[in-house]
Symmetry: C2
């Protein structure tokens, strides 16, 4: 299956600004994306990066400068057109910052039956989905998980939900680095430890920090 991986080359991961420099945020975002691409390949599928700008990687890349929703919908439409509007094979979208996704949890997503299979993200988001319905389109603004369920219902697509902590964990904020250090085992985790991050416990709560 083709698996789109949206990636932003412009000031990625801006909410990590309190703990990572601009250069570090760029490198960390690329490390996470490389982990995601590798996990998709290890799960036996075909990653295709949907990037806002040029990026040098070994997998197919489509550059589309438009906002996420428009760029993904253009690819979903192109997929339906290429296959015929009777639906045709499935397609998936997996966010590039799912730094603790593993091949086995991605397999669980890809193998779950349903016209639309959604892996919710924290905060009402949609971190990954599979579409097997020609009419399904996305709207990533706001509570996209609820909106995607509604869009699926509108086009008559049934929805299945994959309950996965690893797929629900997109890495946006400093607190999310704790998940990478605790549960990660790829480039993203190595990047954080290389630049000095460790887990710290203060008053029973855990944070990821490095010496000033």
């Amino acid at each position: 299956m083709e698996v789109l991986v949206p990636f932003s080359t412009e000031s990625p991961k801006s909410r990590l600004e309190p703990v990572l420099s601009e250069r570090e945020r760029r490198d960390f975002a690329r490390a996470m994306a490389a982990d995601v691409v590798e996990a998709i390949e290890a799960a036996g599928h075909h990653p295709h990066i949907l990037s806002t700008g040029q990026i040098d990687v070994d997998v197919p890349v489509t550059v589309d400068e438009r906002p996420l929703t428009d760029a993904v919908n253009a690819r979903l439409s192109a997929h339906v057109d290429a296959r015929g509007s009777d639906g045709g094979p499935e397609i998936a979208v997996v966010m590039a910052d799912l730094a603790i996704a593993t091949p086995s949890v991605l397999e669980r997503l890809f193998e779950t039956p349903g016209d639309v299979v959604i892996a919710p993200g924290r905060g009402g988001g949609t971190n990954a989905f599979v579409s097997r319905h020609p009419g399904f389109r996305v709207d990533y603004h706001g509570t996209s998980y609820l909106d995607h369920r509604e869009i699926a219902a509108t086009v008559g697509a049934d929805v299945c939900v994959v309950d996965s902590f690893r797929l629900a964990t997109d890495v946006d904020e400093p607190a999310d680095l704790v998940e990478v250090l605790t549960h990660g085992d790829g480039r993203a985790r190595t990047y954080l430890t290389d630049v000095g991050f460790t887990l710290q416990t203060t008053d029973g709560r855990v944070s990821a920090s490095r010496p000033e």
Copy 2:
């Protein structure tokens, strides 16, 4: 299986103070615990509340004023003593604030084989586990997920991990209320909507809020 549900009657859910009054936090904590107890029963198991103070519920309650780690370890030891140190039947611990846990995800936890089966929580925590090993004990301070893996290894218990967003979601902070409103369907969600909370989207990010 006996499923311990630790519950604090003293100033519960203090990190929700910015959005809920003391009385509301108490009522909301009880609504979440009632949902968890009901989900455990619906999954075919026997909830047993381990409370820091008296609480009026229809399931067995043990009052233990000690800190969480000591109180849980006392019950684990008592369980082993009652059954004989050859191991005996399994026992589980499920946190009382897993407001979006469902019977089916709890079944997934309870039915996963392994001497120790852990459902990690966000921030390095341990939100639920099953122990089938007489030597396993807990340490909830800090990165308990990693510590519990180490404790299991020390006593020769193999560990399985259950990857569940619903079990990883303990409700501690205002941002967590978004998950209850988005994915919940029990008393906790009803409580929040009854006191006026709705999902709001600002700059593409979702929060749970109510009129001032």
